[in-house]
C-alpha cells in the first residue's frame, strides 16, 4: 500500500521521535524501582502477547457503538423514548471509548518507543492521529454533556473516521511489520539429547551460535553451566549472540529485554513472548541439548 511506503520513508520524523523517546525515558525512569513492573504490565508480559491491541479493539468497538447509537438517535421518525435512550447510551459508550483510548495510548506509546525505522515512523503517525481523534472524542463528550447533541454526534463521526484510518496503520504495523509478533524464528523441539559443541570451545562472555536441524541456537557459558536459547529475541529479532548473561538473566543486546536463563520466561519487556530455551547437560566434555518449546499454535510455521 503506497500510504505505508510513503509514511515509512519520512526520515525527518526520526529526529522528533527520538526527542519524544528522551521524554519517555525520563518519565518511565521517574517511576524508580517500579519501572520494570509497570512497563511489563503495559507491554503485556503477564498476558504473553501485547496488551495494546486488546485496548485498541475495546476503544474502536466502543466508538463504533457510539456511532451506531448516534445514527439511531438522528434517524427521522424514531419514537422520542428511543432517541433519548440511544443518546444516553451513546454518551456512555463514548465515555468507555475515551477511557479505552487512554489505555491504548499509554500501552501503545510504551511499545512504540522500542520500534525502529519504518515501523517507528508509521507508529508515530498512528499515535498522532489517535491523539487527535481522542481530543475530538473528549470535545464530543463535553458537547453532549452540555446538550449540544448534534454537534457531539458530528464530532464523534469525524473522530471515528480518523480512528479507522489510524487503525489501518496500526494493523499494518502488526501484520506487515510484525510489531508485537513473536520474531524468535524457527523453534526446535528436541526429544532426544543432542550433542552440539565441546565445552572447551565455548568461552565465558563469548556466546556461540550453533546450528541444529536448520535452526540457529546460542550457547552461553557461566562456569560449568551452559545456557542454550534461540538465535533471535522474540521482540524484534535482535541477534542473541550479541547478548549476555547478567545475574541469571539472558539480556537482549538491543532493548534490554531479560529472560530467565533456565526457562526463557520474560522477566523484563519489551519482549512479551518467551525466548526459546533448551535443557543442557555435559557428557564427556560435550554440550548436549534437549527440549525446547512445543507450542501447538506455532506448528506449521517453523517448528522442526
Amino acid at each position: 500500500m503506497w500510504v505505508l511506503a510513503v509514511l515509512g520513508r519520512q526520515e525527518w520524523l526520526d529526529r522528533p521521535s527520538y526527542r519524544l523517546e528522551h521524554v519517555l525515558t525520563f518519565v518511565f525512569n521517574a517511576l524508580g524501582g517500579t519501572r520494570d513492573r509497570v512497563t511489563n504490565v503495559l507491554h503485556g508480559v503477564w498476558l504473553g502477547h501485547p496488551l495494546h491491541p486488546s485496548l485498541a479493539s475495546l476503544a474502536t468497538g466502543s466508538i463504533a457503538t457510539t456511532v451506531a447509537l448516534d445514527a439511531l438517535s438522528v434517524l427521522p421518525g424514531r419514537p422520542a423514548a428511543e432517541v433519548r435512550d440511544a443518546s444516553r447510551f451513546a454518551r456512555r459508550a463514548l465515555g468507555v471509548g475515551i477511557l479505552a483510548n487512554a489505555g491504548a495510548a499509554v500501552t501503545g506509546v510504551t511499545d512504540w518507543q522500542h520500534t525502529h525505522e519504518q515501523s517507528r515512523r508509521i507508529g508515530l503517525v498512528h499515535g498522532v492521529l489517535n491523539t487527535v481523534a481522542m481530543g475530538l472524542y473528549g470535545l464530543s463528550w463535553w458537547d453532549r454533556r452540555r446538550g449540544r447533541h448534534l454537534r457531539g454526534v458530528a464530532v464523534t463521526a469525524v473522530g471515528y473516521g480518523i480512528t479507522l484510518a489510524s487503525a489501518y496503520l496500526g494493523g499494518a504495523l502488526v501484520f506487515e511489520s510484525g510489531v508485537g509478533m513473536d520474531q524468535s524464528g524457527k523453534r526446535l523441539g528436541l526429544p532426544e539429547w543432542t550433542p552440539v559443541l565441546p565445552l572447551q570451545e565455548l568461552a565465558e562472555g563469548r556466546p556461540q551460535r550453533v546450528q541444529v536441524d536448520g535452526a540457529g541456537l546460542i550457547l552461553y557459558r557461566s562456569g560449568e553451566k551452559v545456557t542454550a536459547v534461540g538465535e533471535y529475541c522474540p521482540h524484534l529479532a535482535a541477534p542473541m549472540v550479541d547478548g549476555w548473561i547478567d545475574r541469571g538473566r539472558v539480556v537482549c543486546p538491543w532493548h534490554g529485554s531479560r529472560f530467565d536463563m533456565d526457562s526463557g520466561e520474560v522477566l523484563r519487556g519489551p519482549a512479551v513472548t518467551p525466548l526459546p530455551c533448551y535443557q543442557t547437560r555435559l557428557v564427556d566434555g560435550m554440550v548436549e541439548l534437549r527440549g525446547g518449546e512445543q507450542n501447538p499454535v506455532r506448528v506449521g510455521r517453523g517448528v522442526a
Binding site: F28, Q113, P253, G256
Partner: protein, 161 residues
C-alpha cells in the same frame, strides 16, 4: 581528525573511566568523582553520536536505529545504578550491569559502524570534516560549566527517583 579516530578515542576515555571506577572502593569519594566524570563524558558521547555521527550515517538506518536502542538501554541501566545507594548490597551488581551494557554498545559500534558500512559513502575529506566537528563539540562541552551543571542536575534528579 578522522571521525572514526575521534569516536574510538572517546570510547577509550569511557573505557578508562569504567576501569578506574571498577577498581575503586564502592563508597569512596574517589569513585564518585570518577563516576561524575564518566557521566559528563557519557553525555558528551551520546550528544556527538546523536547530533553528528549518526546523522552522517543515516543511510545505514538499520544500524542507527539499533544504536539508538542501545543508548536507551545504557540510560535505563544508568538510572537503576544512580538510584542504588553506593553502600547498598546490590550496588556492585548494578555497576557491573551498567559497565556490561556500555561495553556491549561500544563493542558493537566499533564492529558495525566503524568504518561506516555500505550504503554510507563518506570521502576522506568528509570524514575529516565530521571528525573535526565532533572533536570541537567534545571540547566545547568539556569546557562548558553549564553542561557540567546540567549533567549534575540530571544525576541528582535520577538519584531522587
Amino acid at each position: 581528525m578522522n571521525a572514526y579516530t575521534v569516536l574510538q578515542d572517546h570510547h577509550k576515555v569511557l573505557r578508562g573511566l569504567v576501569k578506574k571506577i571498577s577498581s575503586a572502593p564502592a563508597a569512596s569519594p574517589e569513585r564518585q568523582e570518577y563516576l561524575d566524570e564518566l557521566l559528563v563524558e557519557l553525555d558528551i558521547h551520546f550528544r556527538i553520536e546523536d547530533d553528528l555521527y549518526y546523522p552522517a550515517l543515516s543511510a545505514a538506518s538499520t544500524l542507527v536505529a539499533i544504536a539508538h536502542a542501545e543508548h536507551r538501554q545504557v540510560i535505563d541501566q544508568l538510572a537503576v545504578l544512580l538510584r542504588t545507594p553506593p553502600g547498598a548490597p546490590g550496588y556492585e551488581d548494578e555497576w557491573r550491569s551498567f559497565a556490561t551494557v556500555l561495553e556491549a554498545h561500544a563493542d558493537e559500534e566499533e564492529r558495525d559502524m566503524i568504518p561506516a558500512p555500505p550504503p554510507v559513502q563518506l570521502s576522506d575529506e568528509e570524514l575529516d570534516t565530521l571528525g573535526d566537528q565532533m572533536a570541537s563539540r567534545i571540547k566545547e562541552l568539556r569546557d562548558s560549566t553549564a553542561h557540567k551543571l546540567h549533567v549534575r542536575g540530571r544525576k541528582a534528579l535520577m538519584r531522587a527517583m
